[in-house]
Symmetry: C2
Subunit: 490 residues, 2 copies
């Protein structure tokens, strides 16, 4: 263990027992061992199953944790819920300090589940003899190195097998297992540039909850962004306290999706994680007091997480007042951007004389630029073409002009992507332009689907946020302003 | 002309003169002729250019429209703005009834442009001698047959060349040329299943405006959905009247994006189409009174258009009260759907005894279904697997159960897409399930990007709306309810 926090035991165990390991490849107990070995877990793995014989992924089965000679830090459970109390007693006897229970069938199934829970509380002496993550969870994942590197891997203890991933600065804490499994894979494919450091499924959080994980990630310098999905608050006071602490830490942002904010949603959470109905007004007060960035859905959660991740990776400055400039190739899109900026509390400042003059230089006489910072670049590009000048110089001039304004804190750059235009792109120059300033630069990419993906991956790989929907881009700039205000207020 | 409406002249001309046709393939005047010939325009085409010699795309150049012996219905202009008054006089002399002016440099460039405008008003005797679409537009497009069919084509008069397209039931009317050009191509690639009937760029609308096009499309039975982008209202009273008329026509829906709703947006429209600042409150009153479906951005405009297009193509019934059921494979996603339904005025009704019993049948005892209509299907699927029963029967049973409830007017079906699961999909069954009911069925698809695209194209091709973002799906169901209320109220 690298520090003394209990979460460290769960994310950096030196040895694990997989209780319920199985030779049958469709069973979760098989996939957990597969996931651990495939992803180079460096500690010792003991597959445990009283009825299995021989080996699994080169590891010999044990009948019980009590048959393991060496010390075991963590027991991972994938067995029927009714077996768990007895097996937990064996773990306690063995001196195992943590249990990661991926099995379901507890609070979320009603009376019988609650009885099981009570039994576990008794056996563990209210979790003093052994600490528990879960039950009804999808495991914990720590990524040390990218899957395409020689040293790929980390600690992958879920039953959803991960084959491709990238290490990054995001930690996920979730009460929806899907978010740590299938949905996370979906996001990794949707945003291939996005890297994760941890993905923690906390399930019904019988013992450990969001609180311990938050504490741990606030102290972990490899984590900049904490993306959380909760169905209930285990300790609202402590949650608020930790969120407020986060605001004082540079480059640390918490984004929350709270499921069950409405009466309909609460009916759903009850059967999902057994979370009891909470007062909607109270919930809103908790969220407001915590000052976290709130997202509406998983999609929004990860889009926001991506934006903060990239902003922090590239040492950008969070905009404080919401002044932004826009470079577009379409008057209609420019108009809608101008309208939508107001919806998200942003504005297009008026250009000062110097920056306006610099813009006028590259524009044709018949179509001068705007005084306010919406730049329809097309006439300037046409002029450059007619004068056989380098179009990149026009873009550079526009960037220099608007970014020289102190009130302009960032830039939206719209681009139309087409196979026909690819030869015109100078991606290194685009990256250079975006990098030369501490102000965030966002791209709005439309056009041929394949070309949009191509450019999006190229720019995304350089931590430049790209969006394919206009409103998303503007909303994401808006949350940067919100976060800088949060941080300033604390 | 198939009817007597002026728009008919512009969308179904028997012969056109392209004034400013050029041999230089980078010029708009070349691309217009290319677009017309490539897409099998069935009328006669006369390229006009006083300095060009020989042929273009097999058509002989004329020095002036006055040199054309036959009758000409429509003149398409792609020449410098200053030349237009003189050339218009020639057109009037020739007896040409319509001018489609794609050149820019009029109201949107200030004083000089306004002078040009006044001259045109004088020459045309306030558009009584010749009618005008534009200036500053991207042409008009009518699609008769899909680009991959033998009879591909229609009337393609813009300078953005279209090579791939599908005929459908959507008409676009726009004051942003990009929307009819690059953005439309973007949308056609984003939603390959989507078909269009017309795409009309109306530019500065010096003469003809959204009013004439709306009138025409309301009467055209091949059009179900009219997607409009406006920067100004030419005649608010008439606009409201036409939108209200639309509500009385079955299978006819108008969706509007209004640019320049805010002070910032209005600054942008001025330099784009010369639209003058309008009172924001007045604008909102117009939109409210018209009762159109309002969209925030081009992305939303076409997503809404797609939904209505598919609903009308498959003879679905618009939901009237907002009761919806949900089949998910994740409790977390189910919870967020439940929360978001409330945001969009929808609800998950409680199941009656019969439908609940039917659901209980396919669920395992250890995890019974909900009484309210959120179905986490996973336990039922697991039961079917254990009992070696056909999983499709489980889905069918769930559909039958929830859709038998009169209060449930539609269904959200979440699916996780993975290469590993592809063999389990029975797409014909999925289509059959979605088709057997008049209630709209929406899919929320996540998972591996390639598989999502694959299934989305398969289902989309059958006019079943698929979404990759949760909130989009719910918002789109919400607008169906809004439209049915609109239609009922009139």
């Amino acid at each position: 263990m690298t520090n003394n926090h209990i979460v460290d035991l769960f994310l950096n165990p030196k040895s694990v027992a997989v209780i319920g390991a199985s030779k049958n490849i469709v069973k979760g107990g098989n996939r957990i061992v597969h996931n651990l070995t495939l992803n180079n877990y460096k500690g010792k793995i003991y597959p445990v199953n009283p009825t299995a014989k021989g080996e699994i992924y080169g590891l010999e089965f044990k009948k019980s944790v009590l048959d393991i000679e060496d010390e075991v830090d963590l027991a991972i459970f994938y067995v029927g819920n009714r077996l768990i109390p007895g097996l937990l007693e064996e773990c306690i006897q063995k001196g195992i300090k943590g249990a990661l229970i991926e099995a379901s069938g507890f609070e979320e199934v009603g009376k019988k589940g609650l009885e099981l829970r009570d039994k576990i509380v008794e056996i563990t002496d209210t979790f003093s003899k052994i600490r528990i993550v879960g039950p009804n969870c999808m495991g914990l994942t720590k990524i040390d190195e990218n899957s395409n590197s020689e040293d790929k891997g980390g600690f992958f203890s879920g039953f959803g097998v991960f084959e491709k991933y990238k290490r990054g600065n995001i930690a996920v804490v979730s009460q929806s297992g899907m978010l740590n499994g299938g949905y996370l894979m979906h996001i990794m494919q949707k945003y291939p540039e996005l890297g994760f450091r941890y993905s923690c499924s906390i399930g019904n959080k019988m013992d450990l909850s969001e609180i311990e994980f938050l504490e741990y990630f606030l102290d972990d310098p490899t984590v900049n962004v904490i993306a959380i999905y909760l169905e209930s608050f285990k300790d609202p006071r402590k949650f608020i306290e930790l969120c407020r602490k986060a605001k004082k830490i540079p480059k640390k942002t918490i984004i929350l999706v709270k499921g069950g904010l409405t009466t309909q949603g609460q009916k759903a959470t009850l059967s999902h994680t057994g979370a009891l109905a909470e007062n909607s007004q109270l919930l809103e007060a908790i969220i407001k007091q915590s000052g976290v960035i709130q997202a509406n859905s998983f999609d929004e959660l990860f889009q926001f997480a991506r934006t903060f991740s990239m902003i922090y990776e590239t040492d950008k400055k969070l905009p404080t007042k919401g002044g932004v400039s826009t470079i577009v190739g379409s008057g209609g899109a420019g108009t809608l951007i101008a309208d939508l900026t107001m919806k998200y509390g942003l504005r297009l400042p008026t250009l000062g004389d110097d920056s306006y003059k610099a813009l006028v230089e590259v524009f044709p006489e018949w179509m001068p630029p705007n005084r306010f910072s919406l730049v329809d670049i097309w006439p300037a590009m046409e002029k450059a073409m007619m004068e056989r000048k380098d179009r990149d110089l026009v873009i550079k001039a526009a960037y220099d002009a608007v970014l020289s304004e102190p009130e302009i804190e960032g830039l939206f750059n719209m681009m139309f992507c087409s196979r026909r235009f690819r030869s015109m792109w100078n991606i290194p120059n685009m990256v250079k332009n975006a990098r030369m300033t501490p102000k965030p630069i966002f791209f709005y990419l439309i056009g041929e689907a394949k070309e949009v993906r191509y450019l999006s991956e190229k720019l995304g790989g350089e931590n430049i946020p790209c969006f394919s929907e206009l409103e998303d881009m503007i909303k994401n700039f808006g949350i940067l302003v919100q976060e800088s205000k949060n941080k300033a207020g604390n």
